[in-house]
């Protein structure tokens, strides 16, 4: 009976700790809401297919997982050393380019594996690869920046999702629209969508460059 009581006490303790970090539970709820929302937006388009939705959902998690560790160094004193070696702008550009390559590579690999198991419905491979590249650019820009922010908190994994998912949605919506176009055999109107995506990437890049030095300060 005593071991049962002990278990009960431990559960109570867990509850108390959870309650003390209320933001963590709020974060978990926000996590659920944004994930479902992203899934919903990807299946909502009538011309879209489950393939499209699943692929981008997977891409989102791949990108978040790959980029979360970007600023793990911050916890040790290593970032002080980096701070002396390079300017913050150099650091964020380097990290973003590295993450861009990483995410792009991972997306290509998952495209291959997807095609192997689920078939390949993409009719215009060239346009799809461009979409992947622009998408990896947007994802790595936002997520690298967000991982810099969330590395300041105690629970960086949760914050990666809370802060990152809603910020990614504008990129996500245009990515899904573009992918829907690549599903059709003849090239539709895609120039305006591509330019919107490029414009979003450029604007985000500009703000990341301006804002990052302020994050890097401590």
């Amino acid at each position: 009976m005593t071991s049962f009581n002990a278990i009960l006490e431990l559960i109570k303790l867990e509850l108390k700790m959870e309650w003390r970090m209320k933001y963590a539970i709020a974060g978990a709820i926000l996590y659920v809401v944004t994930t479902v929302f992203v899934l919903y937006t990807s299946i909502q388009n009538e011309e879209s297919t489950p393939w499209n939705a699943l692929y981008w959902m997977l891409a989102l998690f791949i990108a978040v997982n790959a980029i979360t560790k970007s600023f793990a160094l911050n916890k040790s004193g290593a970032h002080l050393y980096l701070y002396q070696l390079a300017s913050p702008i150099q650091i964020i550009i380097a990290k973003t380019i590295y993450n861009l390559c990483l995410v792009f590579l991972l997306l290509l690999v998952s495209f291959g594996v997807f095609s192997l198991f689920l078939g390949n419905p993409i009719e215009q491979i060239g346009l799809f690869i461009i979409t992947l590249f622009l998408g990896s650019m947007g994802l790595s820009l936002v997520l690298t920046f967000v991982s810099a922010i969330s590395s300041k908190t105690a629970n960086s994994g949760v914050f990666m999702a809370i802060l990152g998912f809603p910020l990614i949605i504008p990129i996500f919506l245009s990515l899904i629209k573009l992918t829907t176009i690549t599903l059709q055999s003849e090239a539709g109107e895609y120039l305006s969508d591509i330019s919107v995506l490029i414009a979003i990437d450029v604007i985000l890049f500009g703000f990341v460059i301006i804002l990052f030095p302020y994050l890097w300060r401590d």
């Binding site: 974060g27 929302f37 245009s174 300060r217």
Partner: protein, 355 residues
């Protein structure tokens, strides 16, 4: 007084928006015709149900009505009878042939009198002709005397099917969203000020303005939901891009407050949340103003091929209330933000004293 003039202005503009917005009547309009489908080459009578009219007083038999076949050809009613306050009976003699290239087509009906002015309902009456013969129709078209339309000098909001009285929500729902964007912009200004010169008051101001902006966003959602219930028949629809993006915008700013609560060190919290709020504002602007424009379909004006605020959508009477309403709501938001800021400063001071 020198520092408070804008608060007085906010109150006056909002009073103006509320009084004008709720008390200026809607223009008279046609709700529908019964019956509304006819074959040509016969004498017909149809009843017109109208809105916001009283034909029993002040009309003095000045009523006329016609079916508009196209820009050149009108068919006047032989007789316009007043049935009750809101109903007219129209007698037409339909010729066998219509100067139209459609066999069966809905035409516009126009009713006019000296009290209510002209009211038009497109696609109100469906006429079906047995044969198509444009030349014969034009040469046999009955000779009619062109009648002058009468327009009384009155202030009223346009009558729009589906919208009806809810058009007044233009002065509350839309300015709330405008106000939210202005407030968020104000918050970004204070965030920039903080990053340039770390002073905690700037951080508190940014936080207060963001709180009020989120409040405005929520009120915008509520007023929009009520409007949607009346016009689209549902409180909320996920198929509408603007509803989705505004939900995401709310999420972005809820994340802002969660981020604040997770950062313990005051200086770090102020700096990190300033950086996040600037970045978030960029994302929200992209969300609210860029993404809906590339969406394929939308029920909102100005998106997915619908007309925006301009031309037909916003007539001069609406504009006269709409623009002051935007300024009024925005100023009220900044006032609320200021009060919230003072409250946070006082709460902080109290906290310090008790500790």
């Amino acid at each position: 007084m020198k520092n408070h003039w804008w608060k007085i202005l906010a109150v006056l503009l909002l009073l103006y928006a509320i009084i004008m917005g709720l008390f200026v009547p809607l223009k008279s309009g046609i709700l529908g015709l019964t019956p509304r489908e006819f074959k040509t080459d016969q004498k017909i009578t149809t009843h017109v149900k109208t809105y916001n009219t009283d034909f029993t007083k002040g009309v003095d038999g000045s009523s006329i009505a016609y079916i508009k076949i196209n820009d050149k050809f009108k068919l006047y009613a032989d007789l316009v009878k007043v049935v009750d306050k809101n109903t007219l009976a129209l007698d037409f003699t339909l010729p066998a042939l219509l100067p139209s290239i459609q066999k069966k087509w809905p035409y516009t009906i126009v009713v006019n009198d000296k009290k209510h002015g002209a009211f038009v309902r497109p696609d109100a009456i469906v006429l079906e002709q047995a044969a198509l013969n444009l030349d014969a129709a034009i040469s046999n078209w009955p000779k009619q005397i062109e009648k002058q339309l009468l327009f009384p000098d009155e202030l009223n909001f346009p009558f729009r099917p589906i919208l009806y009285e809810s058009i007044r929500n233009t002065f509350y729902h839309v300015p709330l969203w405008f106000g939210m964007v202005f407030l968020l912009f104000g918050s970004v200004i204070y965030s920039i000020k903080y990053l340039r010169k770390p002073n905690h008051n700037f951080d508190y101001r940014a936080k207060s303005l963001t709180s009020i902006a989120v409040l405005y966003g929520m009120l915008g959602c509520v007023t929009g939901a009520i409007w949607a219930k009346g016009t689209w028949g549902t409180w909320w629809t996920f198929e509408e891009i603007k509803l989705n993006v505004s939900a995401v915008a709310m999420l972005i700013y809820i994340a802002y407050f969660i981020l604040r609560s997770a950062l313990v060190d005051e200086e770090q919290r102020a700096r990190v949340s300033a950086v996040y709020s600037i970045f978030a504002f960029v994302a929200v602007v992209l969300l609210l103003f860029v993404v809906p424009r590339i969406a394929t379909n939308s029920l909102h004006p100005g998106n997915g091929g619908n007309p925006g605020f301009g031309g037909e959508d916003l007539d001069n009477t609406l504009r006269m209330v709409f623009y002051p309403a935007i300024i009024g709501w925005a100023l009220l938001g900044f006032w609320l933000g200021q009060l919230h800021y003072r409250y946070s400063i006082l709460a902080e001071r109290l906290n310090d004293e008790f500790e």
